[in-house]
């Protein structure tokens, strides 16, 4: 269709303009090998042209792109009303994004372009025919293509978050896009729902509910029905999904003793994961699911431990302070994010796999808890009551660029989705 043709044209352009492509490639490499974790790439953003007057209900597209760029942790946005070579040159914005919006009946045709600033060569083009309310998602898709083009990596603009939101005083599980928009409520119980995690493939969630007056794990696919998982076990909670197999590692408390169990949520079969004298909770998988992190109270208070999936090589990771909990293994595999309590406040830290090289990411801003990595490993989402109520925030993995993404009520316990497997590399037909 129109869009296909457009892509053919873009592909042809890209082929015809090899110098532009190699220019971009060099740029990508230069940034990628940057030692500093917060090395960012300047990028220009210019308002999209509007072909007829448009009654905007949503944010204008260049503002959505700007937010994606800022949230991504990869870019410094150079905003400009129009293409401005001196400005882009001065700020080293070697690329810029702009586009064109045309009303087509009730729909909007949103064309998005990534240009090289110096040559004005088109490096990437996407066209979406969408209702205005869906434009944000279309722009997220485009933005992930931009990241792929400039970084050679998948971005997270099309990923989602699950978290817990208090409604009428009851905790419910909700999901939203990674930027806090398109929120939808997943549980509608009169009892507490909490601890949501994503199924492998993002088809649904596992979470804990109290409808039986005990914490119990349930699963629910999006649009599907709720099902108890591992009903044979008492007090099940703290789920962690194996990113390779979809198995569930979780805590079960029997007669006051808490152990880790591993099970297949489809068959319902589960067995004890480790036979340890201590209580264990908050399991987390390494990116390739060969190792796990968990919290043990064997020293009295909570400390983080690691061991192989087969139970081998048990070792303590955290030694600083008396309360280190809820470890999350970075997708790049090299760091652990966790929550530590000192002076009565919770704060988020990262450390190397052996517990060394501790970096405090949050401080002097209320409680900061429940870190969850973006699937590209660039960002950490967490909950904080720094504004008075608990809300969800996103920051870069070095603690910079903290952005609040929820605004009302009380929101806690974010868990980032996996990448969506339907991501296609740049030559792709967009959603209608």
């Amino acid at each position: 269709m129109d869009k296909m043709k457009f892509f053919v044209r873009v592909a042809a352009l890209a082929l015809a303009l090899l110098p532009a492509a190699s220019y971009a490639t060099i740029d990508t490499i230069a940034v990628d090998v940057g030692i500093s974790v917060f090395k960012t790439m300047p990028i220009g953003v210019v308002p999209f042209a509007e072909k007829k007057s448009i009654d905007w209900i949503e944010e204008k597209p260049h503002l959505i792109v700007t937010r994606d760029a800022n949230l991504s942790g990869r870019f410094d946005v150079v905003s400009s009303d129009k293409f401005d070579l001196p400005l882009f040159s001065k700020t080293h914005a070697k690329h810029y994004i702009t586009g064109k919006v045309t009303p087509v009946g009730k729909m909007l045709k949103v064309e998005c372009f990534l240009y090289a600033s110096q040559t004005k060569d088109l490096m990437l083009g996407e066209s979406y025919l969408v209702e205005q309310k869906d434009m944000r998602r279309a722009l997220h898709q485009f933005f992930d293509q931009v990241i792929y083009r400039l970084w050679g990596e998948r971005g997270v603009a099309s990923t989602r978050l699950a978290y817990v939101s208090k409604m009428d005083g009851i905790k419910q599980v909700v999901v939203s896009d990674y930027d806090g928009f398109h929120r939808s409520q997943i549980t509608r119980d009169t009892t507490i729902s909490m601890m949501p995690v994503w199924m492998k493939g993002n088809a649904g969630l596992y979470y804990v509910n109290f409808k039986t007056h005990r914490p119990k794990l349930y699963s629910k696919t999006f649009g599907g029905t709720e099902r108890a998982v591992f009903p044979q076990l008492d007090q099940t909670y703290s789920p962690a999904v194996n990113p390779k197999t979809g198995e569930l590692l979780f805590s079960s408390t029997v007669d006051g003793k808490t152990d880790l169990y591993i099970g297949n949520p489809e068959t319902g079969k589960a067995k004890k994961f480790a036979y340890l004298k201590s209580n264990q909770t908050s399991p987390a998988w390494s990116p390739f699911a060969s190792e796990v992190l968990f919290t043990s109270d064997r020293g009295g208070g909570p400390q983080i431990f690691a061991m192989g999936k087969d139970g081998s090589d048990l070792r303590r990771v955290t030694f600083m302070g008396r309360y280190n909990e809820r470890a999350a293994w970075s997708p790049e595999g090299d760091r652990i994010a966790y929550t530590s309590m000192d002076g009565g406040h919770m704060n988020i830290y990262t450390c190397a796999l052996d517990g060394s090289d501790i970096v405090q990411l949050t401080s002097n801003a209320g409680n900061n808890e429940h870190p969850t990595w973006s699937p590209d490993g660039k960002l950490i989402a967490f909950s904080s009551n720094r504004s008075g109520s608990y809300q969800i925030y996103i920051m870069r993995k070095d603690g910079s660029n903290v952005t609040r993404i929820t605004n009302s009520g009380e929101n806690t316990s974010p868990t980032w989705s996996f990448f969506y497997d339907d991501f296609k590399q740049p030559k792709k037909e967009g959603k209608k």
């Binding site: 914490p215 909670y237 805590s251 006051g256 809820r326 808890e369």
Partner: protein
Amino acid sequence: MKNFVKLAVVASAAALCLVACAKKQQPQTEPEAEPAPAAVAPAAEPNADSLAAEQARLEAERLAAERARLEAERARLEALINQIMSEDVYFDFDRSELTEKAKELLAQVGELLIKEERFTITIEGHTDARGTEDYNFTLGAKRAMKVKEFLVAYGIDAKRMESVSYGKEAPKVEGATEEAYSQNRRANFRVNIKE
């Protein structure tokens, strides 16, 4: 909660029974069918059959006494249950050891449970708002278990007790003060009456 409902059911069942008994008996004592006024206000008609009136009065007294007895029993059980449910056991931060005060309280609960064999209890372990949800579940579980172990040692059959952790999800007192925290670091009881 549940036990209140049960009590209410027991109480209302008793009341129904009383009403039913009263209805059944009144025709026997007074076939002329002026039952209700006579029973409720026998003095209103001093010239009526005095024997029947006297019987009705005695019957009303008996019923009232029976009602009072059931009411007293219900109140006694309710008081006991309330007492057990109000016997919250408090803990120090991130600890699950029983304090001396906790042990004294639990000994009283143990006595009640020995006397009232029909009572079964659920021990709920709770934590204050600080810390993670996950770890607080394990901490609440440890607290509930310490209470259960104490009561087993006191002589209560473990089968009469269930333990569950609510972690930090069910605070008794809202707020981020030490006062609120100390009230929330607790184990409490739910009581059921075995039929």
